[in-house]
């Protein structure tokens, strides 16, 4: 295990997309050219002032950035320990952090002259964010979504359709996010010249993990400025839920160099890590290769990917971004898990105590903050990335309470 030394310049990934042993480009030959082209184009645009200016403009005027950071005072008092602050990504246009990335990628797509975008989605948040930017920029949009997820997230499916996207049900494999990603890759291989694939998290082949991280890192960069303004210093820990890991990478990355700040990623423990029904890849998985990169995976002893479970569709993924795999092994970030029940309890608590309805994904990060806050001092600060709002989860939460809407 390599340790990340203080003061070491963090400039991963390397030129081949590796974060230590993780990441890379594990795809069939047909996609190599497209990925190479995308990498070159993205690296050029990353240093292009005009591109960055346009991105910032869109984030400000279309998304509503910067998102506020909010002191959950009643919740903190109730817990009787550390102060809990929330980064309000739930207030973004379309209701989650996902839009930061889809705007970035669709601006890249436009520069590359692509008129058709495709996306995979689990909870539907990335699908909605992709359909939104496709409408905004006048591009055709096709979203792949597992049949199981289409059933659990009916209102997001309708939102995508209202925005003019075509939603394609995926019936292969476990019919969830991982299969939607497979199907989107198949579409991309087939239509590689006309089509831009907007991946929704920090996974996939290089340059996606780096590019998606960069677009979401606006969240952490805002916090680096906001936290000293509101508490006069940086927080003691930053917490974020980890599905594929994009909202977590977005807040973690700018904080990697802030050595005094603990980085805590919270995975979905589902019905419990011991039950086998969970999606806690970093906590319970082993390294392997899936979806174009090497990372931790939930797999059986034969190397077959196993079906995951989480009450939140957005965390229901058997892989995780390769940079998280690296941050785990290097010891710079810690990864824990919160169960379905703990997430639900956090959801209800935030509704009642702060009048904020969090996404079930974000509720996992909140659940862990609520677990550790009581053991901390009142002058300590936990910063929770509230990655999205919970409107989409109304049916799931009602079901869990035995109520049919």
């Amino acid at each position: 295990m390599q340790m990340y030394e203080a003061g070491q310049i963090y400039d991963l990934p390397d030129s081949k997309g590796h974060f230590g042993p993780y990441g890379g480009v594990f795809v069939a030959e047909t996609l190599m050219y497209a990925l190479d082209e995308l990498r070159r184009e993205y690296l050029r645009l990353r240093d292009d002032a005009e591109f960055q200016r346009e991105f910032q403009y869109e984030l400000k005027h279309y998304v509503g950035r910067p998102s506020p950071v909010y002191h959950a005072r009643r919740l903190s008092e109730h817990l009787g320990g550390a102060q809990i602050w929330l980064k309000r990504e739930d207030l973004n246009h379309t209701g989650a952090h996902k839009i930061n990335n889809t705007i970035g990628q669709s601006l890249v797509a436009r520069r590359m002259g692509k008129k058709r975008v495709i996306a995979e989605t689990g909870a539907g948040q990335h699908g909605v964010a992709s359909a939104t930017v496709a409408a905004r920029y006048g591009m055709e949009c096709v979203v792949y979504m597992g049949l199981e997820d289409i059933k659990r997230q009916a209102s997001n499916v309708y939102r995508m359709k209202l925005l003019g996207a075509t939603v394609v049900p995926v019936e292969s494999g476990s019919r969830t996010l991982k299969d939607a990603l497979n199907e989107a890759m198949r579409d991309w291989v087939t239509n590689v010249e006309s089509t831009f694939y907007i991946i929704g998290t920090v996974a996939g082949p290089h340059p996606y993990p780096m590019m998606v991280r960069d677009f979401n890192a606006v969240v952490g960069r805002e916090l680096l400025v906001q936290m000293p303004e509101v508490i006069g210093r940086q927080p003691d820990a930053v917490l974020a839920c980890v599905g594929g890991g994009s909202n977590a990478m977005g807040v973690f990355h700018p904080y990697i160099a802030e050595r005094g700040v603990r980085l805590i990623g919270v995975e979905a423990a589902g019905e419990g890590l011991g039950t086998g029904h969970h999606a806690a890849t970093l906590c319970a998985g082993r390294p392997g290769v899936l979806h174009g990169n090497r990372t931790y995976l939930l797999q059986d002893e034969d190397g077959q990917i196993i079906e995951t479970h989480s009450i939140s569709a957005g965390l229901d993924y058997p892989g995780v971004g390769p940079e998280h795999a690296w941050l785990k092994d290097s010891g710079r970030a810690e990864y824990v898990a919160a169960s379905d029940d703990e997430a639900l309890q956090a959801f209800h608590t935030l509704c009642r105590m702060e009048g904020i309805m969090p996404a079930l994904e974000s509720s996992h990060a909140l659940a862990h903050a609520m677990k550790i806050a009581p053991g901390m001092r009142p002058d300590q600060v936990l910063l929770v990335n509230l990655s999205g709002r919970g409107d989409k989860d109304m049916h799931t939460v009602a079901n869990a309470s035995g109520i049919t809407l």
Partner: protein
């Protein structure tokens, strides 16, 4: 050396092109797989590509996806596939066998252990769809040490420098993916193949097999005129899906026999 180079030499001497059928191991069962392999050889196959089922076959179309799912429902593992090759070898020590699959089952077994088990079972070549040469060098070295060929893909989107790079890593033969798309897709562009193949042969010095999208004897014949080998997969896998298990072997034998005759005519 594996059995692959001598197979291509012998064919060249006879002015024939290699017919390389692909089937998914374990579909409908591993016992059927061994019978199917023998039937393929009897029907005129020169090399057999044996698919190792994976839960997430990203580069495959619906026919091979479904066959992988059927094989996995029968709990087909990489170990089981190697066992099937060993059983096949007890009766056929001549026909090259190439394993085709995805990286994760191999990494789960461990690259060295896999390479040794493959050598012990009598495997001649390995094609890992999601290992481009950059990421596949560890496996390629382990295989090379045991005289097993590393088969790599090239595609219509491969640039000339890419062709050279893949040529340096590859041995046995090059698998040219004849279309932009997944296995089993419908469109196949003969002109594109005719344009691309001379460059591939020149820069790699290896025989070139063409696959993805060859669905009938007619197309196999046309492709065979341009290439050294014709790979036919989804169509066979579909035939297996459409047949009752006890009829699959005869159905596949008839289909491959027809393709062989068309290629040799």
């Amino acid at each position: 050396m594996s059995r692959i180079p001598s197979t291509f030499e012998a064919l060249q001497g006879k002015g024939r092109k290699a017919l390389i059928p692909f089937i998914t191991a374990g579909d409908p069962s591993l016992a059927h797989t061994v019978s199917l392999m023998h039937a393929l050889v009897e029907a005129g196959a020169d090399i057999i590509e044996l698919g190792v089922p994976f839960s997430d076959p990203m580069a495959d179309g619906p026919a091979i996806q479904r066959s992988s799912e059927r094989a996995l429902r029968k709990h087909t593992s990489l170990r089981g596939v190697l066992e099937a090759v060993r059983t096949f070898r007890s009766k056929d020590d001549a026909t090259p066998v190439v394993l085709m699959g995805y990286a994760n089952p191999i990494e789960a077994m461990g690259v060295e252990r896999f390479a040794q088990s493959a050598a012990d079972a009598g495997v001649d070549g390995v094609l890992v769809v999601d290992y481009p040469p950059e990421e596949g060098s560890g496996l390629s070295q382990a295989l090379k040490a045991r005289d097993i060929d590393s088969i790599y893909l090239l595609s219509p989107t491969s640039t000339e420098s890419r062709i050279r790079e893949v040529g340096r890593a590859a041995s046995g033969y090059i698998y040219y993916v004849s279309l932009k798309g997944v296995t089993g897709a419908a469109s196949l562009d003969l002109d594109e193949i005719a344009r691309k193949l001379p460059a591939i042969k020149a820069h790699t010095g290896l025989p070139v097999g063409v696959g993805f999208g060859i669905r009938d004897a007619e197309t196999a014949r046309a492709v065979g005129k341009l290439s050294d080998a014709v790979v036919i997969g989804s169509r066979l896998v579909q035939e297996i899906e459409d047949s009752a298990p006890e009829q699959a072997v005869e159905k596949v034998r008839a289909l491959v026999g027809g393709i062989r005759r068309a290629m040799d005519a």
